[in-house]
């Protein structure tokens, strides 16, 4: 085993080394790339060492899936934080704040509040009842084969959505940061993660999460210290500087468009700290909030973490620590985001990545002394390496969760009827990990260039509509049974997925073609328009489905506007300007503008070609039928309802008879799976 492990480790480092040869462009300048790779190398070496140690202690099923239940509460708290603070929250939220101010910060709150549900209703009962998977909890007083099949299906679905988003996001991120080829980074992340999971099981995965969470918190603390120190750590003084910054004011003016013309600079800056620059639909916001607050508690890779601690008390302690770390981290992102907006500038952040993902790394570079300094690039290299570690760690946790559903629930539970030898179980777990890992790499490469941002929200929505109602009701409602769980999980998951398929998240060719034409041909001149009063809609359901009239907000009066030129016209004028320019500096500036316009033009042309002749989305719609981006508002209540109705129709005396045992055990921990002796 150790021999194979060494070989694999060697080939991984070789692969990563070859990545440096492929490096082309990226946020890190070429002459400083060696630093990024050096930091990568150190992190990989440490985690490989941990995996080597963990592999020596991973022989039984309990050790592979649950680290022998020997993880302490505090360790598990750090590991949960490591699992949860994905690249999306580490880079994404700081980016949202840097571009949209208050709304970005507001968005981060739901991610912490989610842990209240985990703490109060999920963590301790799951520790007391569970063994290795969500399927074990659901099978406690129900028909194991049926329930485990549905639970495994749901686990694999949720994990795959989340995994795809992480893989694609990670590939793009590594390319933007250091310029490594997309496919190479996906394969690199995949192989590295597989080494952790296959050899070290849950023990290695846990420690990789802990190391990564530690690095992430240290890096953020350091950056916030430098950002906030000049203001004597005073919140009002610091935010005063943010709103007084011209780059921030320019960004607000850009976001508000015509409305900004009557505002003073101070008003524009202050607007950055007020809601409404990014999030428009409050109902959508509430729907997303529901998916977050209930979905986290249904995430298989989070549930699984509670099987790794020795007692319910340790499970409780781990959530408390996780909440401290995660919440503290999101408070830090307020400073990272606003700091990046003030020091680097939203325009520059968005020019490298439109989603704002580069806010944190660029802030690091600025604080170290800028793009040409050694320290600045060391900071950037460090943050880039942490981002890389983040992706690998989150993916490892997800693969382990999906593999456990496949091996423990499906193979051992359903196919072998729980009659597999311990040896066979461990082999099955490792084989399943390899299968899921290869699947993750394949899906990651296939989904290149796709818009996957909504997949994270979809994963949470499915977890909240399918997993959570089933787990919660089997734990707290006596009459819950097999029929209810199957009905609830299927209806919850299918509704969530179906609603997303007909929602604004999908690509609608007509809208894309219209937007592309607008880019190329520009806006025609428009006459002055009078103010329009707000119109009330025809009822609440009209806000959700495109069947009747939606409420419309009031519109301010508009002045007459001259025509705006499109890229086609701009290209001609800029080219003429370039030919006329004599000064070198002027020429450079015009050339840069020209390149920018050309890029936009090419993208629009590309879109036109790509969607030429298409009029409907993947499911045959011309425009969204479901008007929210997140389906939670409908699919979560439906999931709960389906469990209740299914249970009442199915009737199972055995499930009711076993209620006493389940309820006593979840509250007292009598007969809970013990920690393995070491």
């Amino acid at each position: 085993m150790t021999k194979i492990f060494n070989k694999l480790a060697l080939s991984t480092s070789a692969l990563l080394a070859s990545g440096s040869a492929l490096a082309a462009t990226g946020a890190v300048a070429d002459e400083f790339k060696w630093m990024t790779f050096a930091v990568f190398g150190v992190i990989i070496a440490i985690t490989m060492g941990v995996t080597y140690w963990a592999a020596k202690h991973t022989h039984t099923t309990s050790e592979f899936y649950a680290a022998g239940r020997s993880v302490s509460g505090i360790q598990n708290g750090w590991a949960i934080a490591g699992d949860y603070l994905s690249a999306a929250s580490f880079l994404g939220i700081a980016g949202l704040i840097s571009l949209y101010g208050y709304d970005g910060f507001m968005y981060s709150v739901g991610w912490l509040v989610a842990y209240i549900t985990v703490l109060l209703v999920i963590a301790e009962p799951c520790r007391n009842i569970g063994k290795y998977t969500m399927g074990d909890i659901l099978a406690f007083r129900n028909e194991p084969k049926k329930v485990k099949t549905v639970a495994a299906l749901s686990t694999i679905t949720v994990s795959t959505f989340y995994l795809t988003a992480q893989m694609v996001g990670g590939g793009v991120l590594i390319k933007t940061l250091i310029g490594i080829d997309y496919e190479t980074s996906i394969v690199g992340v995949g192989i590295l993660m597989l080494v952790y999971v296959v050899f070290g099981g849950m023990k290695a995965t846990t420690w990789v999460q802990i190391i990564k969470a530690g690095l992430l918190v240290c890096a953020s603390l350091l950056l916030v210290f430098f950002v906030w120190m000049p203001y004597g750590f005073s919140l009002p003084d610091y935010l005063q500087a943010v709103v007084g910054d011209t780059k921030v004011q320019a960004q607000v003016a850009k976001l508000l468009g015509d409305k900004a013309t009557t505002m003073t600079a101070a008003e524009l800056g202050q607007r950055f700290l007020e809601p409404g620059l990014f999030l428009k639909s409050p109902i959508d916001q509430i729907s997303l909030g529901m998916a977050l607050v209930l979905g986290t508690a249904g995430m298989p890779h989070i549930l699984m973490r509670f099987f790794t601690v020795p007692t319910a008390k340790a499970a409780r302690l781990s959530v408390i620590w996780a909440m401290g770390i995660i919440g503290g981290f999101y408070v830090l992102t307020l400073f990272l985001g606003t700091g990046a907006a003030m020091l680097v500038g939203p325009a520059k952040i968005a020019s490298i990545d439109p989603g704002g993902n580069m806010a944190g790394p660029l802030l690091a570079q600025y604080l170290g002394g800028g793009a040409d300094s050694l320290l600045g690039n060391f900071f950037l290299a460090f943050v880039a390496a942490v981002a890389f570690a983040t992706i690998v760690a989150v993916v490892a946790g997800l693969v382990l969760a999906a593999a456990s559903a496949m091996a423990h629930d499906i193979y051992v539970g359903v196919i072998r009827g729980d009659h597999a030898t311990p040896q066979e179980q461990v082999v099955a777990a490792r084989v399943a990990s390899v299968i899921v890992g290869i699947m993750a790499i394949t899906v990651g490469i296939m989904a290149k260039g796709q818009n996957v941002a909504h997949l994270v929200a979809l994963a949470f929505a499915v977890a909240a509509s399918s997993n959570l109602p089933a787990v919660m009701l089997t734990l707290y409602w006596k009459k819950c049974n097999t029929g209810g769980i199957i009905a609830g999980m299927l209806i919850g998951a299918i509704t969530a997925i179906a609603l997303v398929m007909i929602s604004p998240n999908m690509t609608y060719p007509q809208a894309v073609i219209k937007a592309a034409h607008k880019v190329i041909d520009g806006d025609p001149a428009s006459e002055a328009k009078p103010a329009v009063e707000a119109k009330s809609g025809e009822g609440f359901s009209c806000e959700l489905f495109a069947t009747c009239k939606k409420a419309e907000p009031a519109k301010a009066a508009e002045d007459a506007k001259p025509a705006k030129p499109g890229t086609r016209e701009k290209l001609v004028t800029l080219q003429a300007k370039l030919d006329a320019a004599t000064d070198e500096a002027d020429k450079k500036k015009v050339q840069a503008d020209l390149d920018k316009v050309k890029k936009a033009h090419d993208k629009a042309e590309g879109d036109l070609k790509k969607f030429d002749g298409q009029t409907t989305s993947m499911v045959g719609l011309e425009k969204p039928f479901f008007l929210l981006k997140n389906p939670g508002l409908i699919s979560i209540p439906l999931g709960f309802l389906a469990v209740i109705i299914g249970s009442l129709l199915y009737r199972d005396q055995r499930a009711e008879d076993m209620w006493d045992e389940l309820y006593v055990r979840q509250n007292t921990g009598i007969n809970a799976e013990a920690a393995s002796a070491h």
């Binding site: 208050y102 912490l112 919140l235 909030g289």
Partner: protein, 106 residues
């Protein structure tokens, strides 16, 4: 790994277990209710009470920012209150039941 079989119905019927069950249920779902309501006040306030959120109270710091920060404080406070209560009360009550569990209904 044989586990002693228990008379679960007897434990469930035990007054001490019933007391634990009642206390825990009210406490947990009460906290859950408070945290949910408090959380959804944020998106609702940001959407429908923007004028309130825009009031500056501490330099440029406005009600909206303080309210968002208070969400963190409330979440931590709920976690802290729950763990205090569970460590001090629920665990001890459960331990008593565990100690006598094998005798119940025998």
């Amino acid at each position: 790994m044989s586990k002693p079989s228990m008379n679960w119905a007897a434990i469930d019927a035990d007054p001490r277990f019933q007391a634990l069950h009642r206390k825990k249920t009210t406490f947990l779902w009460g906290l859950m209710f408070i945290s949910t309501v408090y959380y959804f006040l944020l998106p609702i306030g940001a959407a429908y009470y923007q004028d309130l959120f825009k009031i500056k109270v501490w330099g440029v710091v406005n009600v909206g920012i303080l309210f968002a920060l208070s969400e963190f404080i409330v979440a931590w406070a709920i976690a802290f209150i729950y763990s205090k209560k569970a460590n001090a009360e629920f665990d001890a009550m459960a331990q008593e039941i565990i100690n006598d569990a094998h005798k119940m209904g025998a």
